[in-house]
Amino acid sequence: MDLKDLYRDVIVDHNRHPRNFGALQPADAKADGHNPLCGDRLTLYVNLDGDKIAQAKFDGAGCAISVASASLLTEAVKGKSREEVQNLFEQVHALLTQQDAQVDVGKLGKLAALSGVREFPARVKCASLCWHTLNAALDHADANKPVSTE
C-alpha cells in the first residue's frame, strides 16, 4: 500500500487547483452529492448542447480524492455524448473497484490517476461521488425536458 499511489501528482494538483470550480449559472441541469460518512458535499452543474455535454462545473467541499476526482471529471466529460459519458463512468468504476480491471488506460487519460484508490477501499466512495452526482444531474435534465407526444 503506497501512499504515492493514492495521492499522485495529478490528484494533488487537481485538489490544490480544481479546474472548472464554481457555479454554472444558468445551468441546464445540476445535482447535489453528499457522502455522509466523511462530510463531502458537492454540486455538479451541466450545460448541454443537444446530446453532448457542452460544459460541466462543480463546487462544494471535500477531501482531496473527491475534489480531484470531480475536477478531472469536469475536464473529461466536456464535448462527450451521454453514451460516451456512461461508458467512461463504467471504465472509471471498474478502475476504482476491480483489482484486475480490463480498462483501456489510454482512453481514460488523466482519469487513470485514480487507479491507486482501489488499494484504499474506504476511499472509493470519495472518488465515485462526483460520477453518481453527474448521473443524477443528467437524470434531472431528462425530467425537465418537455414530454414528447410521439
Partner: protein, 422 residues
C-alpha cells in the same frame, strides 16, 4: 500501588518508576503490533478502547469453565454463571457508588440506556407542550431518542447553545429551564470535543425546578471517578467498550424510586415472575428491564475491566491522561495551520482539530499508513460540526496506556501529511 505520581513532562513521567507505562502496555496484547510496517499508535480511544489480557481471560475463562444460562437451572454451571453475572453487577454498583444493585440495569450500551429512559420514563408522562432539554454538545445517541419521543408525544426538544470554546452556555440554560421542562439530558464529557461539562452546576439548578436529569457518561466513566450519589443525577448511562470492557454491554443507573414506577420496555423471559395468558407479573428490579438471556460474558468482562481500572486507580488515570492532553495540545498547536476545535478549560484527553487546506479524511488515510489510528469525521455529532461550520474534524483521543512518544509520532505523521498533500 504507591503514591500517585504527577509527571509534568515526558522525561519525568518516563523516569518516574511509579508509572511504568511499558508494563501497562504489555497488559494490552493488541498494542504490540505493527500496521503497515510501523508500530501501532492507537489514538482512537474515544471511539473504543482496547482490552487488557485480564478482560480477555475473564471472558475466555467464563466460556471455558462456567457458561450456562443464568437465573434458571439448579445445576452447578447455571449457579456459577448466575453468581458471576450478578457478582459483576455488584462490582459495577460499587464502581459508580449506586445505593443498591437494583439500580444497576444492564443494557447493550449507552445508546440503549438513553432509549430505555426515553421510552419507559419520559414517554408515558410527556404531553404536548412539554419540553426535553439537551445541549448542543450531544452525541446523536443523546439527541435522536429524544426526537423520537417528542414525535410520539407532541413534546418539544430544546437545545442549550454552546460557545466557541465548546462549553455549554450556563446562562442560556438557566433561561431555558422552566415549568414545561420534563427532563434534562446532558453529556458528562463531549465525545467530539472532550469538554468536561460541569454537570453538578446544571443538576443543582434542575433540582430547584424539580426536573429529573439523565447524564450520558460514555466518555466520562473511563477517565474519571464517577459517583452517582454525589452527582445526585437521576439516570446515568455508560458503555463497556469505551472502558476496556467488551462491546454490547453497558449500564443504565437509575434512582430506585424512579425505576420502580417505570414500566418494562421490552417483554420476554427473565423480566417476569408469573405469566398467564390473562396477566403477567413483572420481575423486580433490576431484572424488570432485562428481557431475554442477557450478555452474560459481557457483564463478566465489564467487571474485569473495572477491576483493572481500579487496580491502576481512576485518580492516576485522570492525572496521566491530563499530562498526555497537555502535551498533545502544546505539540499540535505548534503545527502551522492546525486549529484545535474545542478549547474548554476542563477537557478529557481528546484533541479534535482541523488542518488548513487538508480534509480530515485525507489526514486519516495518511496517518493510517504511518501506523497512527485516529478518528476522522463528524463523530456522531453533526450539530457540533454545523456549529463550527466544518464538515468534519480529525480527533486524537488518548488513554492512560498511550505515551508521549506516540504523540510525537502523531505530530510527525501530520507533518508527513502536509508534505504528501503540500
Amino acid at each position: 500501588m504507591s503514591a500517585q505520581p504527577k509527571p509534568v513532562s515526558a522525561d519525568r513521567a518516563l523516569a518516574d518508576r511509579t508509572w511504568n507505562v511499558a508494563a501497562i502496555r504489555r497488559d494490552f496484547p493488541i498494542l504490540s503490533q505493527s500496521i503497515h510496517g510501523k508500530p501501532l499508535v492507537y489514538l482512537d480511544n474515544a471511539a473504543s478502547s482496547q482490552r487488557p489480557q485480564s478482560v480477555i481471560d475473564a471472558i475466555s475463562h467464563y466460556y471455558e469453565r462456567d457458561h450456562a444460562n443464568v437465573h434458571r437451572g439448579v445445576h452447578t454451571l447455571s449457579q456459577r454463571a448466575t453468581d458471576a453475572y450478578e457478582g459483576a453487577r455488584e462490582t459495577i454498583r460499587r464502581f459508580i457508588n449506586a445505593k443498591d444493585v437494583k439500580e444497576v440495569i444492564y443494557t447493550r450500551g449507552t445508546t440503549e440506556g438513553v432509549n430505555l429512559v426515553a421510552q419507559s420514563f419520559a414517554r408515558p408522562q410527556l404531553r404536548p407542550g412539554d419540553e426535553i432539554l439537551i445541549s448542543g454538545l450531544e452525541h446523536h445517541a443523546n439527541i435522536v431518542p429524544w426526537q423520537l419521543v417528542c414525535e410520539q408525544t407532541g413534546a418539544t426538544l430544546k437545545v442549550i447553545p454552546i460557545s466557541t470554546t465548546g462549553e455549554v452556555d450556563f446562562d442560556a440554560f438557566e433561561k431555558l429551564i422552566g415549568p414545561r421542562t420534563k427532563l434534562l439530558a446532558l453529556a458528562h464529557v463531549s465525545n467530539a470535543l472532550g469538554t468536561v461539562v460541569p454537570v453538578e452546576k446544571f443538576i443543582a439548578v434542575a433540582r430547584k425546578h424539580g426536573v429529573p436529569v439523565l447524564l450520558d457518561g460514555a466518555q466520562a466513566v473511563p477517565h474519571m471517578k464517577v459517583d452517582v450519589q454525589a452527582l445526585d443525577c437521576d439516570f446515568y448511562c455508560f458503555s463497556g467498550h469505551k472502558m476496556l470492557g467488551p462491546t454490547g454491554i453497558g449500564v443504565l443507573y437509575g434512582k430506585q424510586k424512579l425505576l420502580e414506577k417505570m414500566p418494562p420496555w421490552q417483554g420476554g423471559g427473565d423480566m417476569i415472575l408469573t405469566v398467564t395468558f390473562e396477566k403477567t407479573t413483572y420481575n423486580q428490579l433490576p431484572w424488570k428491564f432485562e428481557a431475554g438471556t442477557p450478555h452474560i460474558s459481557g457483564a463478566i468482562g465489564l467487571a474485569a475491566a473495572i477491576d483493572y481500572l481500579e487496580r491502576i486507580g481512576l485518580d492516576r488515570i485522570a492525572s496521566v491522561e491530563h499530562e498526555l492532553l497537555d502535551y498533545a495540545t502544546a505539540k499540535l498547536s505548534a503545527l502551522p495551520g492546525l486549529r484545535i476545535i474545542g478549547t474548554a478549560p476542563e477537557k478529557a484527553a481528546v484533541v479534535s482539530f482541523v488542518l488548513e487546506g487538508i480534509h480530515p479524511h485525507d489526514i486519516g488515510t495518511i496517518l493510517d499508513t504511518e501506523g497512527v489510528a485516529i478518528r476522522t469525521g463528524h463523530h456522531c455529532a453533526m450539530p457540533i460540526m454545523d456549529f463550527f461550520r466544518i464538515p468534519a474534524t480529525a480527533r486524537a483521543s488518548m488513554s492512560f496506556y498511550n505515551t508521549f512518544e506516540e504523540i510525537d509520532r502523531l505530530v510527525a505523521a501530520l507533518e508527513h501529511t502536509r508534505q504528501v498533500l503540500g
